[in-house]
Amino acid sequence: MSAIEPPRQRLWWKQPLDRVEGTWIAIAFAWCLVMFFMMPYWHIYGRQNLANEAYRNTPENYQAKTDAMVAKYKVREETDLKIPVVHPPAGSDVFLIARLWSWWPMLELEAGKTYRLHLMSMDYLHGFSLQPENINIQVHPGYEHVVTITPTAPGTFGIVCNEYCGINHHTMASRLYVVK
């Protein structure tokens, strides 16, 4: 018997299911269900980033919002590029701009406090990767993504761009400070 020949009976659908085949199908289907329901379960209870708040916006609007935050909460400047470091109040909206090829501004957050972190790109697709944590978010142009974060321990964290964005993608890194 081969798959190229027509089936033995014209009405092969009515042929009773063989017990071994039925068992095989049952096991395979049960495993499919396990894998299917693991997806939403792990998305929520595995503490993965929930991608559920985003807004359409323009670079000008977003730059204005970020500038307003920097003007109010700037504490110092760092690096040769004189990037401002901002220390926004707990519970507030915090804005981070991704552009070719830098992050602006630098953030200083307090441990144990919750913030709404806004992420948007001014030009092309970038990736926000908080090191050494397991937080990775795509940063799109034209879409403002909002993530609620609560730093748990003080320290200095790295932000690297993990979405290839051009010739200087490898230099697109920044720091995020968490203080007590």
């Binding site: 033995r8 009976q9 014209r10 009405l11 092969w12 659908w13 009515k14 985003a54 807004y55 359409r56 916006n57 609007n61 977003y62 879409y143 403002e144």
Partner: protein, 71 residues
Amino acid sequence: MPAPHPGALDPDEAALAARASSEALPEDEPVPVMQQILENPFLLLFIGVAMPTVLYIVWGVMEIVNIPVAK
């Protein structure tokens, strides 16, 4: 006269036997819907393209279009 499988009747003998015992001939019975679907390669091709397109592309574009504008 070669029989396709040992013990099976060839089609003419099967038809005669069925008519003799007034059973419905296999040719008269309607083909089950599932069998009709699985025997139609072009329908299967259409479903194989249409289902992922709707579930991924169309659904995805609908979600993206529904993203609200920032205040």
